[in-house]
C-alpha cells in the first residue's frame, strides 16, 4: 500500500531532477558549440532554438522586452533566475522538497546526495553564473544527478516507490528527447531533399551530444551523420537509453511495479504510445513529417501523464468505487 501523496512526490522528485539534468545538458552543449561557431552566426541564432526546446520563448520575451537574445541572459534565465519557475535552480529546489516529503521511502544515501547537491547549488548560484564558468557547473550537475539515479538503482527496493520514481524520470526524458529532436531537426534541415546526405558534422554532432548519444551513434552508424539515421537512432533504437523507444519500454516496466488499477486508464495510454512507436521505420516517420509525428507522441505522453494523475494521485472517487478493504 502506498499513499497517493507519497507516490506523487516520488514521481515529481524524479521528474524535476531529470529536468535539471536535461536543462544542464542542452545549455552545456550550446555553450561549447558557441565557442566554435562559424562566422556570421549570431548569438540570437544560436540561442533562440534552445528557448523553443524548453518552451521558454514567451517567458524570455516577458523577462526581456527588448527582445535582444544574449548568451548571458539565456543562461541566467534557464539556470538561476528565481522568478522563472522552470529554471534549473527551481527544478532542483522542487526535486529536493519532494524528496524531503518522502525521506523515509528513499535510501539515506539518495537523500544525502540530493540534499548536498541542493545546498552546494544554492550556494554556488547565489552569484550570477558567467558563461565561462557554466560548463564546469553543468558538469557538476550531471555528476550529481547521475549519482542520485545510480543510487536509486543500487539502493531502492523494486517496489511501487521505485516504479513511480522511474516513471517520473523516464517520462521527463522522453519528453525532452522528443523536443530536442523536433526543434533541432527543423532548424538544421529546412530542405527535405537532403534527408539522405551527410550534413554538417558539428551541428548534428551537437544534437547527438545534447542527447548523450554521439559516441553510441558513431559506433552504430559508420556513414557520417545522416538525418534518417539520427531519427532512427533517437526515436526507435531500443538499446539507446535516451531514445523514445527505450524510455517507453522502461515506463512499461515501471508500470508493472506500481500495481494495476482495474478501472484505470494508464495501461490504455501506454498502449497508445507503444502503438505509435511500433511497426514504423524512420523513412515512414519522415514521410508523414517528423514534426507531426513527434507532436503526436507528445500529445499521447501528456495523455499518459493525465491518466497517471487521476488513477494514482487523485484517489478520491466520490461514489466510493475503488474502495478496497
Amino acid at each position: 500500500m502506498m499513499l497517493s501523496r507519497i507516490a506523487e512526490s516520488l514521481y515529481w522528485m524524479a521528474r524535476h531532477l531529470e529536468r535539471v539534468d536535461n536543462t544542464a545538458r542542452i545549455l552545456d552543449i550550446n555553450v561549447i558549440h558557441m565557442l566554435e561557431a562559424d562566422d556570421g552566426i549570431t548569438e540570437a541564432m544560436q540561442w533562440t532554438p534552445l528557448l523553443a526546446i524548453v518552451g521558454m520563448d514567451e517567458c524570455y520575451a516577458d523577462f526581456y522586452p527588448d527582445g535582444q537574445i544574449t548568451v548571458q541572459r539565456v543562461i541566467h534565465l534557464l539556470t538561476q533566475d528565481r522568478h522563472n519557475p522552470g529554471c534549473l535552480y527551481n527544478s532542483l529546489k522542487l526535486a529536493r522538497e519532494n524528496a524531503r516529503a518522502v525521506r523515509d521511502r528513499i535510501s539515506n544515501a539518495m537523500w544525502e546526495t540530493l540534499n548536498q547537491f541542493w545546498l552546494t547549488t544554492d550556494r554556488h548560484l547565489a552569484a550570477t553564473l558567467p558563461p565561462w564558468r557554466a560548463a564546469e557547473f553543468y558538469a557538476f550537475v550531471h555528476r550529481e544527478v547521475a549519482t542520485f539515479f545510480g543510487l536509486s538503482q543500487s539502493t531502492m527496493m523494486r517496489s511501487p516507490a521505485y516504479g513511480f520514481t522511474m516513471l517520473g524520470s523516464l517520462q521527463e526524458r522522453a519528453d525532452m528527447t522528443a523536443r530536442i529532436l523536433d526543434v533541432r531537426y527543423h532548424l538544421l534541415l529546412p530542405d527535405l531533399s537532403l534527408v539522405g546526405s551527410p550534413l554538417d558534422y558539428y551541428q548534428w554532432g551537437a544534437l547527438l551530444k545534447s542527447l548523450s548519444g554521439f559516441e553510441s551513434y558513431r559506433r552504430q552508424y559508420q556513414n557520417g551523420i545522416r538525418p534518417i539515421d539520427v531519427v532512427e537512432f533517437v526515436v526507435l533504437e531500443p538499446n539507446y537509453p535516451r531514445s523514445l523507444s527505450y524510455c517507453l519500454e522502461g515506463m512499461e516496466r515501471a508500470f508493472q511495479r506500481i500495481g494495476h488499477r482495474p478501472d484505470g486508464a494508464v495501461a490504455e495510454r501506454l498502449y497508445a504510445l507503444r502503438e505509435h512507436l511500433s511497426g514504423v521505420a524512420a523513412r515512414d516517420i519522415l514521410d508523414q513529417g517528423l514534426h507531426e509525428y513527434l507532436d503526436e507522441f507528445l500529445v499521447r505522453l501528456a495523455d499518459f501523464s493525465e491518466a497517471l494523475q487521476s488513477d494514482y494521485f487523485d484517489a478520491d472517487p466520490g461514489d466510493g468505487s475503488g474502495v478496497m478493504s
Partner: protein, 490 residues
C-alpha cells in the same frame, strides 16, 4: 471542597524563596559524595579521566548530527529552525525503589484521570457532587461539548501520556503536569538510549539498566487493541500536521518503528462515516488514528473550520465507532493547569485512595484571595497559561523583568481562568558535562505511559536539562537539553 494546596490560606504561609532553600542534588549526597547508585559510574570516570568525557561528548554529537536527530524551534520570524538534539552524556540514574513509587503513582493518576474524563463526558457526577467546580470545566478551553456521550473504545481517553515529574528541595517526586493530549519526546528517549549505549558501553556494563526501546511495540499493541475491525485487520496511521511541526522527526520515527503509514490530513478522507486513506490503489479503510494533531485542528466540521491539517468528518466516524482516535478528543481538559490542582481530590473521589505522588501547590487566579496574593508576589511565582504547553505563555517570576510582570498582571486580571500560579520550586540538579566542565544543572523527568489492555509505564523517560546555569526552564523549545534516563532493575 478545596484541596489543601489551593486553599486560600496558602497565600499567608511563608513563601518559598530562593534564599531559604537549596535544590536537591541527584548526584551528590549531603556529604558532597556521590550517592550510592552513582558510585560505579563515578569510579569509572575517575579512572578514565575527563579526557574520556570530552571525546565521548564529541562522538555523541557527531552521531546525532549525522543521523539527523533534530527538533524544530519556532520563532516569530520564519517557519522554524531545525536544531540537533542537545544531549548530555552523563546518565541520570533512578534506583529501583524510586521507580516503583513513580510507576505506581503514575498508574494511579492515569486511571483516575480516565475515569474523570469518562464522567465529564457522560453523567458529570463529580461536578454534581461538588468535588470539582463546574465553571472550571465549562470555561476550560479544552472541554469539548461536541463529544459528550460519545463512547470511545474501552472507555480509554488517554492512550498515551507523558506525566512530568520534578523533585523538590527534599527530593520528593512531584507531578508538575499531566500531558494527556499529544505528549512528545518519546523518540528522544529512545535515541538517547541508542546513542548512550554506543558511546558508553562500559557504563552499562556496571549496571542493570531496564530497557525502553520496546515502546513503539507497546504503542502498536495498544493501538491494535482499539481497532473496530479487530486487531488483526487493523489499518493504523500516525496523523501528523506535516514537516513544519516541531515534532515531525518523532512522527516519522514512530511511524517507521511501528511500520505504519505516516499520513497528513489531506491523505485521509471520510465517506459514509468511515475514514479512508488515499492510496495509489484506491481508498483503504483506516481503523485507528494515532493523531499528533491538536483537537482544534482535528476536524474542521466540528472544531476549527479553518483547519487544513485535519480530516473533515473524522469525529462523526469516531462517534459511530468506525475509527478509533488516540488520544481521544477532549482529553485535554484533564491536563488543564487549573484542573491540575484538583487531581488529588479526583483520585480520592474515583479510587478511594490517597494520591501516591504529590502535586505542586497551585494558586487559582479565579480565587480573589489567591489572585491578590500572587499579584503581590509575582517575583517569587511561576505563572502559567492553563492551556499552553512547551514553556510558552509562562512567566518565571525570579528572572522576570518589571515590564513582563506588568504584562502578566494585566493578562491575569483580564482573564483569570486562563492562568494559575505556583511558587518557584528549586527543582533538582544533576551533574552534567558541558563545554568541557562538570557542572550542575536543573532537570525534570517525563516518563511515558501507555493505556492499552492495562496501563504500562515504560521504565525510563525523557530527562530534560536546563542548559543555562541556574535556569529552571527545561523545555526543549526553550533551549533545554536531555540525558539518558536509567531505571535500575534492582
Amino acid at each position: 471542597m478545596l484541596t489543601p494546596f489551593q486553599s486560600a490560606g496558602l497565600g499567608r504561609l511563608p513563601a518559598h524563596s530562593e534564599a531559604s532553600t537549596i535544590a536537591f542534588h541527584e548526584f551528590y549526597g549531603d556529604d558532597f559524595r556521590p550517592r550510592d547508585h552513582y558510585l560505579p559510574m563515578w569510579e569509572h570516570i575517575q579512572i578514565a579521566g575527563q579526557q574520556m568525557l570530552r571525546a565521548k561528548t564529541r562522538d555523541a554529537h557527531l552521531a546525532l548530527h549525522s543521523e539527523g536527530v533534530t527538533f524544530t524551534v519556532y520563532s516569530d520570524t520564519d517557519e522554524g529552525i531545525e536544531r540537533v538534539w542537545p544531549f548530555d552524556i552523563l546518565p541520570r540514574i533512578i534506583p529501583a525503589s524510586d521507580w516503583t513509587h513513580i510507576e505506581s503513582g503514575i498508574k494511579q493518576r492515569i486511571l483516575a484521570l480516565n475515569l474523570f474524563l469518562k464522567d465529564l463526558y457522560h453523567g458529570q457526577q463529580i461536578l454534581k457532587d461538588g468535588v470539582v467546580p463546574p465553571e472550571l470545566i465549562y470555561r476550560g478551553k479544552d472541554f469539548r461539548h461536541e463529544i459528550i456521550d460519545i463512547d470511545p473504545p474501552h472507555d480509554i481517553y488517554t492512550h498515551i501520556s507523558g506525566v512530568d515529574l520534578i523533585r523538590d528541595e527534599d527530593g520528593r517526586y512531584l507531578v508538575l503536569e499531566d500531558n494527556l493530549r499529544t505528549p512528545s519526546g518519546v523518540s528522544y528517549m529512545i535515541e538517547n538510549r541508542i546513542i548512550e549505549r554506543r558511546i558508553l558501553p562500559e557504563f552499562f556494563a556496571r549496571y542493570r539498566v531496564r530497557r525502553v526501546e520496546h515502546y513503539p511495540a507497546l504503542l502498536l499493541q495498544a493501538l491494535r487493541h482499539l481497532s473496530p475491525r479487530g486487531a488483526d485487520a487493523a489499518v493504523i496511521v500516525v496523523l501528523t500536521p506535516g514537516v513544519f511541526n516541531s515534532a515531525y522527526f518523532e512522527h516519522t520515527f514512530l511511524a517507521k518503528e511501528m511500520g505504519v503509514e505516516l499520513a497528513e490530513g489531506r491523505d485521509l478522507v471520510c465517506r459514509n462515516d468511515k475514514v479512508y486513506l488515499k492510496t495509489t490503489l484506491g481508498l483503504c479503510q483506516v481503523d485507528v488514528i494515532y493523531r499528533r494533531v491538536d483537537d482544534d485542528f482535528l476536524d474542521p466540521l466540528v472544531f476549527r473550520e479553518d483547519s487544513a491539517l485535519g480530516v473533515a468528518g473524522v469525529i462523526n466516524a469516531w462517534r459511530k465507532g468506525h475509527v478509533a482516535l488516540a488520544n481521544a478528543p477532549g482529553a485535554g481538559i484533564a491536563d488543564d493547569k487549573a484542573v491540575y490542582a484538583y487531581v488529588p481530590e479526583i483520585i480520592r473521589y474515583y479510587l478511594g485512595e490517597e494520591p501516591i505522588l504529590d502535586s505542586v501547590p497551585t494558586y487559582q487566579m479565579t480565587d480573589p484571595q489567591d489572585r491578590a496574593y500572587v499579584l503581590d508576589n509575582l517575583q517569587t511565582m511561576v505563572v502559567k497559561a492553563v492551556a499552553e504547553s512547551g514553556g510558552y505563555g509562562m512567566l518565571m517570576g525570579p528572572s522576570s523583568t518589571a515590564i513582563q510582570r506588568a504584562e502578566f498582571t494585566r493578562r491575569i486580571t483580564e482573564n483569570p481562568r486562563n492562568y494559575i500560579a505556583q511558587p518557584v520550586i528549586q527543582i533538582s540538579r544533576h551533574l552534567c558535562y558541558l563545554e568541557g566542565e562538570l557542572e550542575s544543572r536543573h532537570l525534570d523527568l517525563r516518563p511515558f505511559s501507555i493505556y492499552g489492555s492495562g496501563i504500562e509505564v515504560v521504565p525510563g523517560g525523557l530527562t530534560r536539562v536546563a542548559m543555562t546555569r541556574g535556569s529552571l526552564v527545561v523545555n526543549s523549545s526553550q533551549g533545554g537539553g536531555s540525558k539518558d534516563t536509567w531505571v535500575l532493575a534492582d
